[in-house]
């Protein structure tokens, strides 16, 4: 059976690939949404943090023989600490200014990080070696590498955990309260600046996690962050700036839309998400899941 000239098994295969990419977009965009939702900072360093995550994952394996699984935890941790340092040194000073200043500051930091990576490792990326989970599973309509199935599971787990912590736990409620009314929350004896630092660190750690997840299958180089940041912004804007659920749902859906475009009109596959963005913003200016802000 064909659907618009494409056999249904081939279409299912492409949708499956789209689902993998969508889950990956979701986890990559999540950190940006958390940082914007909680801190109101438009964090342009997100793409660079993704690159650093992938780079550390590779470097751990290459220089110190630390395996993938350890680096999958360690790389986000290192990048998270780096993020906290950046927040303490720079971002903290501009919270009272307009959003735009945060964007400019983080853009500047991005250029510095990218420049440093480029000068140390070039722009072509490095060979990673075979993925840590080998083998291929036959789904009937698609022979999918097991590593890609792991990407789906890992992404969804991390997304769910993040949503749960922020929306359903006491820590999350402190955090949300602290962003609504920091003075009042501080009056209850909660260390708000510390919470803000940790949130930023957590947000960039999510980007690094996505990087470490991508390293075995994607050629990540100093310039990859630039491609990624554009996709991530589209996801977050369509989902509704700062909405965690919106970001996850949008990430997955855009992966699927992109997959269909790659089958029917591949030339437009990198543009289609921006078409969706334009359409969504015309109908719902705050994004699909955005609040009144």
């Amino acid at each position: 059976m064909d659907i618009f000239g494409v056999p249904i098994t081939a279409l299912l295969a492409q949708l499956m690939i789209g689902l993998v990419n969508g889950c990956f977009y979701a986890v990559l965009s999540l950190g940006l949404a958390v940082i914007f939702g909680m801190l109101h900072v438009i964090n342009f360093t997100h793409g660079a943090m993704f690159v650093l995550g992938a780079l550390f994952s590779w470097a751990g394996l290459y220089y110190f023989d630390i395996n993938y699984w350890v680096m999958l935890a360690l790389a986000p941790l290192i990048v998270g600490v780096f993020g906290i340092v950046l927040e303490r040194l720079f971002l903290r000073r501009i919270y009272h200014l307009d959003y735009l200043y945060g964007l400019l500051l983080t853009l500047g930091l991005t250029l510095i990080i990218e420049g440093a990576v480029r000068s140390a490792f070039g722009v072509s990326g490095r060979p990673y070696g075979p993925p840590p989970i080998s083998g291929i599973t036959n789904l009937g309509f698609l022979m999918i590498p097991n590593y890609r199935l792991w990407v789906i599971i890992a992404s969804l787990l991390v997304c769910a955990a993040t949503w749960f912590v922020i929306e359903r736990t006491r820590l999350g409620s402190y955090l949300r309260a602290a962003t609504e009314n920091p003075k009042l929350v501080e009056a209850f004896g909660i260390n708000v600046p510390m919470m803000v630092s940790l949130t930023f660190g957590f947000g960039v750690a999510l980007a690094a996690f996505a990087g470490a997840l991508a390293a075995p299958v994607m050629q990540v180089s100093a310039l990859t962050g630039q491609t990624m940041i554009v996709i991530v912004f589209a996801v977050v804007v369509i989902g509704g700036m700062g909405s965690i659920l919106g970001t996850v749902v949008t990430g997955v859906c855009l992966g699927l839309v992109e997959a269909l475009t790659k089958v029917y009109y591949p030339e437009a596959s990198s543009m289609v998400m921006f078409l969706v963005m334009v359409l969504v913003l015309m109908v719902r200016p705050h994004g699909l899941f955005g609040g009144r802000e």
Partner: protein
């Protein structure tokens, strides 16, 4: 303004009993390396091109002891045609630059070629490979030195089809480079008796190629020709490995180079066929020079780096022979010689500006066969200059037509 001053200096020098450097503007030969120092092509060229250029100038001055001074200037064109063109104009107008080289990125090369023609200086393109440079937009002031999409795509297309891989599918990046590669490869495949059963165009900068490569796999082709470059090429090849496509179908990167092999590693690239004009380990001369290059940069030179060294050396030698840096004279001199140096073997400069030279078909070694860092290639075949490049009879260059109508 330039010409009268030059003539004036020439007349004066005749009166005074001229030195050899009399017809050399400002008594200095200035060479500009205009490259991508920080963008997507900076690993291919960038610092490597600058190092190769500096080595060429130093070696020439040390070995030839010329009567003129040689100076090198460098700049980053940032892959922007306007930045490149205005820098070239500034170099020619105010800094006395006589020859520009590298200009990686075909759009940049075409823009600088235009400026060079206006200013009547010289451009030696060692970075870019679009065949428009010596066809539709050919110029009497431009030498197309290192490689072109025709020689790569044509040689690979013909070789694989001859080996019995008859059915081709192309995964092509959706801009000039991809289309040029696909066009040239298609011609070669069809001439060799093969057929192209399909192709798809993907946008530049796609991060996941699984979808495209699965479509290519589904076509049932014998060969999947990947007509793109840089990160796109890397991701396409990695996906082909990950999904096991490369075990059933032949994957060929039609513009792949040693820089790509280095980035991807031998595990991923083993067995791949590539066409290049230079490999650091091809002969004793190459090895000696390459080791010197490696000491300075920490990496082995690629084809483009060697071509930059060769182009500058040939240019300076011509200037020394003539005692003049006049672009027309240098061009005429170079067209009369056979090039045999570090890079160009059996080289010959044609009226369309194309330097034809032998190119080589290499196969990437297995990790086991490789004896260490940078030991990547096994030589499969040498493709003689005349067979490697687009024949003059197919040229779309005005200069060729004019030269043809005169004879």
């Amino acid at each position: 303004m330039k010409k009268p001053i030059k003539t004036g200096v020439f007349a004066l020098s005749l009166l005074c009993g001229a030195s050899a450097a009399a017809d050399i503007s400002d008594e200095m030969v200035k060479i500009g390396v205009l490259s991508d120092m920080s963008g997507i092509f900076s690993d291919l060229s960038g610092e490597g091109a600058v190092t190769a250029a500096r080595m060429a100038v130093d070696d020439f001055v040390a070995n030839e002891d010329p009567a003129f001074q040689v100076e090198l200037v460098t700049a980053d064109h940032q892959n922007k045609t306007d930045v490149a063109a205005s820098r070239a104009r500034e170099w020619y107008d105010t800094q006395g630059v006589d020859m520009i080289t590298d200009v990686i990125n075909s759009a940049v090369a075409l823009a600088v070629s235009e400026v060079t023609r206006d200013k009547d200086r010289m451009l030696m393109v060692t970075g870019s490979g679009s065949t428009a440079i010596n066809n539709e937009q050919c110029s009497p002031n431009t030498v197309f030195y290192a490689w072109d999409t025709y020689s790569l795509a044509n040689s690979l297309g013909r070789t694989l089809t001859d080996q019995g891989y008859k059915k081709w599918y192309f995964v092509t990046v959706d801009y000039a480079l991809g289309k040029a590669i696909e066009y040239d490869a298609t011609k070669a495949v069809e001439q060799a008796g093969g057929e192209v059963i399909g192709s798809l165009r993907h946008p530049m900068g796609t991060s996941d190629f699984a979808s495209f490569m699965l479509q290519a796999q589904g076509s049932g082709a014998d060969v999947i020709g990947i007509a793109n470059a840089g990160a796109d090429l890397h991701n396409a090849i990695r996906v082909a490995n990950e999904f096991g496509i490369s075990q059933q179908q032949k994957i060929v990167g039609l513009s792949a180079s040693m820089t790509d092999v280095h980035a991807l590693g031998l595990n991923t690239t083993q067995g791949m066929l590539l066409v290049e004009g230079f490999y650091w380990n091809q002969d004793e001369q190459a090895r000696t020079w390459s080791r010197r290059f490696q000491e300075k940069t920490g990496k082995m030179p690629n084809m483009l780096n060697a071509a930059t060294y060769s182009a500058i050396t040939q240019y300076l030698s011509a200037v020394k022979r003539l005692g003049s840096d006049d672009a027309d004279a240098v061009m005429a001199d170079l067209q009369e010689r056979e090039f045999n140096d570090l890079f160009a073997k059996n080289g010959h400069l044609r009226p369309d500006g194309q330097l034809i030279h032998d190119v080589y078909l290499f196969q990437v070694k297995t990790p086991k066969a490789s004896k260490g860092d940078w030991d990547y290639y096994e030589l499969v075949d040498t493709i003689p200059a005349e067979r490697a490049y687009q024949p003059l009879s197919e040229s779309r260059c005005e200069l060729v037509k004019r030269a043809g109508s005169r004879t």
